[in-house]
């Protein structure tokens, strides 16, 4: 008998604890695991460190008061260049900030996945990144003596990603042009904390035919739980299944204008629960 790893968003959240460090897949406002993020926003889990190529995942969790610390190289909604809820959290001093260069962010994930304490890079030298992120240290290279930046491995407790297709055991594929950093986040997170949602669960025998073999980049060795969540990346782009819902994103962004606007948005689009959310979106 093979393991069936299917679960609900509530099951995923029940395995997350306050104070955890959670990586969230996707990129800006693209293929974000928003069904899982909304479930997290509704839960009593809080005090989180969020590691992300940030978009509405980080913004929504900031607005919901779940974030203690943001770990990122950028935060954007793509068609709305700056993420308003994240900006509000930064400008009010509500969250701690741990900035990266995009390449260093990549290396911190890779170091975690490979179980080495750090990886070296030249990126960051001479910039204020070394001032603003004291975890980044310089060292003389043992080969040649050149000064380099040591990028410590991220210490993740969990990773959440949304893939286009998956089977019940956790093999999964992206069907758009880019996997972003999803596979690396799932490899960098510890066993027991790696969760994916997917547009559709298919039989393992049918998986490869959903796209091309090069897109089958998430192995069941990287996954502990699978949630079937059609529309689970909405309102972010999840091509080729659906485009970004620009109108929904604009209304989300507008909810940063005042506490009242956020409370109304939250009641209508977060607290409703995922089933009602999806019914409203696609009706």
């Amino acid at each position: 008998m093979t393991a069936d790893k299917t679960m609900t968003p509530t099951d995923v959240v029940s395995r997350l604890r306050s104070g955890m460090t959670i990586a969230i897949g996707g990129w800006a406002s693209r293929r974000k695991p928003m069904a899982l993020v909304r479930a997290l926003a509704r839960s009593d889990v809080t005090d989180l460190t969020i590691v992300t190529h940030g978009g509405p995942d980080l913004g929504l969790l900031c607005a919901a008061g779940k974030v203690r610390r943001a770990v990122y190289a950028f935060v954007s909604l793509d068609t709305i260049p700056l993420e308003p809820h994240f900006r509000a959290a930064r400008q009010s001093g509500a969250i701690e900030d741990e900035p990266y260069d995009e390449g260093l962010f990549h290396l911190a994930l890779q170091a975690a996945a490979w179980r080495v304490p750090f990886l070296p890079s030249r990126a960051g030298l001479g910039s204020d990144l070394l001032r603003d992120n004291p975890k980044l240290a310089t060292f003389p290279s043992p080969v040649g003596g050149e000064e380099l930046v040591a990028v410590p491995a991220f210490e993740l407790d969990a990773a959440l990603c949304h893939l286009n297709r998956a089977d019940r055991r956790g093999n999964a594929m992206f069907l758009g042009p880019d996997i972003y950093w999803d596979d690396l986040m799932l490899q960098a997170a510890p066993t027991g904390g790696r969760f994916i949602s997917t547009e559709r669960i298919v039989a393992t025998a049918d998986l490869a035919a959903e796209g091309c073999i090069h897109q089958l980049r998430v192995s069941r060795m990287m996954v502990d739980g699978v949630v079937e969540a059609p529309g689970g990346a909405h309102p972010t782009l999840c091509d080729p299944d659906y485009p970004r819902d620009e109108e929904a994103q604009r209304s989300y962004a507008a909810s940063a204008r005042s506490p009242e606007a956020w409370a109304a948005f939250r009641a209508e689009w977060v607290d409703v629960g995922e089933d009602d959310y999806q019914r409203k979106v696609w009706s």
């Binding site: 990129w27 940030g54 990122y72 190289a73 950028f74 935060v75 954007s76 260049p81 700056l82 994240f86 900006r87 930064r90 400008q91 001093g93 900030d97 900035p99 990266y100 260069d101 995009e102 390449g103 260093l104 990549h106 890079s121 030249r122 990126a123 960051g124 030298l125 001479g126 910039s127 204020d128 990144l129 001032r131 603003d132 050149e146 000064e147 380099l148 042009p177 880019d178 996997i179 972003y180 950093w181």
Partner: protein, 252 residues
């Protein structure tokens, strides 16, 4: 044929990529994308360029429907570091603030710990500047952008590169192109120099719009105008929709 300010900017951007050869030219922004395409369509045919997403494309047009793309290479975001770290890229980034040595800020305005205005974040600026030639595009040249000192150094400038010694050996701030003028760093201490003013702009206009002392020669030339063939390419092939005119409206 009347040439618009935006078209002068397009040519100035293209000139920033002259001599780059077979590398990834990565101009970010509307006019940068058009200028990069112009360089490739004329004097720099070996440049590789992205579609802004996950492909390197051979099309001359700046904006192409997905089905009309001529794809040369699959270039997911992660592949970008292969080009950046191997020294095969020249990026043209934006700058919310830039100083006289080309130090750039796009992360946050004000005290970084509790910023007055949070922007995008460091993005890839530290890694871009330490590894490869970098240029900047500023469509709204003014004293709030051209500042005495940037609040946060994301992309490093020539002074910081010099202080690094060996570690800064690949730093080259090539060019800054704005809606008013073109700047380079061809000075002994790598300070920003006014290279040319766009037609209709005076040196005094540029000085008034700049919050630090520029290096200015005795006889600053005008930015070059597009040739007839370049104008045809810009207007009919690369940007037939006229997106350039929305980014930099013609002062008239």
């Amino acid at each position: 044929m009347t040439v618009t300010r935006a078209e002068v900017c397009v040519v100035a951007v293209a000139e920033a990529f002259r001599g780059d050869g077979e590398i990834l030219a990565n101009p970010i922004g509307t006019i940068p994308m058009i200028g990069g395409r112009l360089a490739r369509a004329t004097f720099e045919p070996d440049l590789c360029m992205t579609d802004g997403e996950a492909a390197l494309v051979a099309n001359d047009a700046a904006t192409v429907a997905a089905g009309d793309r001529v794809v040369e290479y699959w270039n997911p975001y992660r592949s970008m570091f292969d080009w950046v770290w191997s020294g095969r890229r020249h990026v043209m980034m934006g700058a919310t603030q830039i100083d006289r040595f080309g130090n750039q800020n796009l992360a946050a305005v004000g005290d970084y710990a509790r910023p007055r205005v949070q922007l995008l974040g460091y993005r890839g600026a530290p890694g871009n500047t330490i590894n490869d030639p970098t240029s900047y595009w500023v469509p709204n040249h003014g004293p709030k952008v051209f500042v005495e000192a940037v609040d946060t150094v994301c992309g490093i400038g020539g002074d910081r590169a010099a202080a690094l010694g060996e570690g800064g050996r690949w730093v080259e701030i090539r060019r800054v192109v704005t809606n008013l003028a073109v700047f380079d760093f061809a000075t002994p201490d790598r300070r920003m120099r006014l290279a040319s003013v766009h037609p209709g702009v005076t040196v005094d206009d540029v000085v008034a719009a700049t919050g630090f002392d520029l290096a200015i020669g005795d006889d600053t030339p005008e930015s070059r105008l597009p040739t007839d063939e370049e104008l045809r390419l810009i207007r009919e092939v690369i940007d037939p929709e006229g997106a350039r005119e929305r980014e930099v409206p013609d002062p008239g």
